[in-house]
């Protein structure tokens, strides 16, 4: 299109409209409204279509970014969505939850001088995916002829859904086993409605079912079936393990089992998956704190704090050992949290949680921290300041300091190699130590991101296809002729 680079440079980044903070902190509706088509086209015109596509190298799955943006500038929204989908099957999700500022947008030329001026790649990705879905323009892939192989996928998080989608399109019979009564993994039980509306995840799952993927809910593998039984009894040819890293960590300090202390997993699962924000219409109860302390500084902590405020907390405070700059949460979430009047008590950590005689939280004793020498990751290590304690008033504590590997499957399948933290060991393509068993996502990497879990799923699907085709050629003896 006829714009010069200079004209493109002159356009300011388009901000998405969003619910004002003092309205949204009382509801669970999504915060940003999304771009209008005009805003999207205007934003797309800011892209310089660089020769050296640094944005693409910043993307873990290498979405052809300048290509899809160019299509938006030409108002070819559906075509743009399809270009993204060649690499990323869940753009409506990723546009909302990827940490763009450290990935594509972090590498964008236009953000080099001023990082708030990078092309809004995430917003554009979200826009085209929503446009395609809301206008019912999603292309139905043709269901290919079945190739006779059966694959079981354990877990319906982003990595499991990616494997299932890739393999069904290659002609496999695919069955997903999901422990919960609903699919989507962290996308439905962890990430709140106001950040990722559940109907988006539902429509992705519906699309997979339309392609012929079978989903068995309420199926905890390791208990209902062991991996061996999936092969022998149920006749699967390959198994993918995408069970996430959902084991909560509690602090080793007095008071951890008081009423009012929750793991973020429990708190968010009650609110999101079980919809206790609609209690008593939905019957899972929730304890509403007045003064809520959230321990941690990641996305999980931000989601917990923002949920607490919406459920009616008078004051919600993030209590974090490190400083603001070191918070691993997405920049947009920290920004939203601040706007919603969530307070930050940085460089501090509890050493004890106080309770009353009935076993309820009444406050915390905290210690001040300071930043010391950098650790292996290059982040300055937080070190406690000796004899520097303070009292913190709260009646609820949400612990969001990370997760661990859930040993349910690996314990019942000892021949799958795990590392010292319990995560499954795989090669670059998701192959585990056991033949025809593959794994990826958080159960391999530890808590990471949606897009990395999807990337791992995609690689594993390739490996499964390659290995089973090789096997089939060897057994039929035609060596691929």
């Amino acid at each position: 299109m006829g714009l010069t680079a200079k004209e493109r440079m002159a356009i300011e980044r388009n901000r998405m409209g969003e619910q004002p903070p003092d309205l949204r902190n009382r509801n669970f509706e999504e915060v940003p409204y999304g771009y209008t088509p005009e805003e999207a086209v205007n934003e797309a015109k800011r892209c310089l279509n660089c020769k050296k596509r640094t944005c693409v190298s910043g993307c873990p799955v290498e979405v052809p970014i300048p290509e899809f943006i160019a299509l938006i500038a030409e108002e070819k929204f559906v075509e743009a969505a399809r270009v993204i989908k060649t690499k990323n099957v869940l753009p409506a999700v990723c546009g909302r939850v990827c940490p763009q500022e450290t990935q594509c947008e972090g590498q964008c030329i236009r953000g080099k001088k001023d990082n708030t001026q990078a092309v809004a790649i995430g917003n554009l990705e979200r826009f085209v995916a929503d446009y395609e879905r809301e206008n019912n323009l999603i292309e139905l892939s043709e269901v290919p002829k079945k190739n006779g192989f059966k694959v079981a996928v354990i877990g319906s998080g982003p990595s499991g859904l990616t494997v299932a989608g890739d393999l069904i399109k290659l002609g496999y019979e695919v069955t997903i086993y999901e422990a919960f009564h609903r699919g989507g993994g962290v996308l439905v039980y962890g990430i709140p409605e106001f950040r990722l509306p559940k109907r988006i995840v539902e429509s992705e799952i519906k699309a997979l079912e339309n392609l012929g993927v079978t989903i068995h809910y309420n199926s905890v593998i390791g208990r209902l079936y062991k991996i061996d039984e999936l092969f022998k009894g149920l006749g699967f040819d390959a198994v993918y393990i995408g069970v996430g890293a959902g084991l909560p960590i509690f602090l080793d300090i007095p008071g951890m089992n008081l009423n009012g202390v929750f793991s973020a997993n429990e708190y968010l699962t009650r609110s999101n998956l079980m919809k206790s924000y609609l209690f008593p219409k939905y019957q899972t109860p929730m304890i509403i704190g007045k003064k809520v302390a959230v321990l941690g500084g990641g996305n999980v902590a931000m989601d917990s704090a923002r949920t607490a405020i919406r459920l009616g907390a008078e004051k919600t405070t993030i209590v974090y050992r490190r400083s603001m700059e070191q918070m691993p949460a997405r920049a947009a979430e920290v920004h939203h949290a601040k706007e919603e009047k969530i307070e930050f008590r940085l460089l501090s950590n509890p050493v004890e949680i106080y309770g009353n005689k009935d076993g309820w939280v009444t406050g915390m004793k905290c210690q001040n921290y300071q930043l010391g020498e950098p650790d292996e990751s290059g982040r300055q290590r937080p070190v406690p300041v000796e004899d520097s304690f303070f009292e913190f008033d709260c009646d609820q504590v949400l612990v969001s300091i990370g997760g661990q590997a859930n040993p349910l499957i690996t314990k019942t399948t000892p021949d799958i190699k795990i590392n010292k933290w319990g995560y499954i060991v795989t090669d670059d393509w998701g192959r585990t130590s056991r033949q025809f068993v593959y794994s990826g996502g958080d159960i391999v990497t530890g808590a990471a991101t949606v897009i990395s879990a999807m990337g791992a799923g995609r690689r594993a699907a390739k490996a499964i296809h390659e290995d089973l085709m090789k096997e089939s050629n060897e057994t039929t003896g035609d060596n691929g002729k």
Partner: protein, 287 residues
Amino acid sequence: MFEIVEKSEVFNVHKIVVKAPGIARAVRAGQFVIIMGAEYSERIPVTVSDWDAAAGTIVLYVLEVGISTLELARMKVGDSLFAVTGPLGVPSEIKNYGTVVLGGGCYGIGGIYPIAKACKEAGNKVISIIEARYKDMFYNEKALMEVSDKLLYATSDGSKGTKGKVEDVVYEMLEQGQKIDQAFFMGCTQMLERCSEATRSNSIPTKVALNSIMLDGTGMCGACRVSVGGQIKFACVDGPEFDGHEVDWNELHSRKAAYAEQETGVYQSYSHECMAEKKFKQELERG
């Protein structure tokens, strides 16, 4: 899926037989399921008290105590549960201990049956003890009798067996010099605590099936955490059975009451009064 194929009631305890072929094939004594009556229901844990792998059914005994159990109690044959997940938890450790005592109260009367059966098959001498307020409130006795060498009763009003509770029968047995090599208890938390006290002085190895509040049942949330021997354990994946002499009972009692306010809000006032008893009184009044 999860169709109710049979249903009956004995004083507020509802026997629900559910079609769940996968679970019926995999379940072992001591395991439980998490069920949801409807899409909007809470996820609640219930012990699998019997099963028929060939028919693909499992047997649950649900004691009506609050809104979820009330709605389950109202479901009819032919209705389907929204979700049944399991089998969950570590199965009971079954071996030849010698003499095994099993104590059950409320839903535990049904829940100890598969453990008794497995212990019997493993060659143990099995003594089962069940408690209720009044003699007509017992259920599943015949089946339990078949897998027990002895079945003893305790009733609050003395209308059958010992006047008192399970632990009173245990004290009697110990006084009479009865050797007990292993004890299992299942029922409400107060009962589990009292029974553990009864076996403590003689250091009888004691397993109690804890019933802390649960959510996912797969170790993902920590709602069910209990302190056993000074360590945090997740009842859904490390249990539900634990050493009764090591459990921090006070903590468990207070954690179990965490949602009392909300629960009573949706149901009615249910504090420490036993619902079975309440219902029994109502029936008496009605004549």
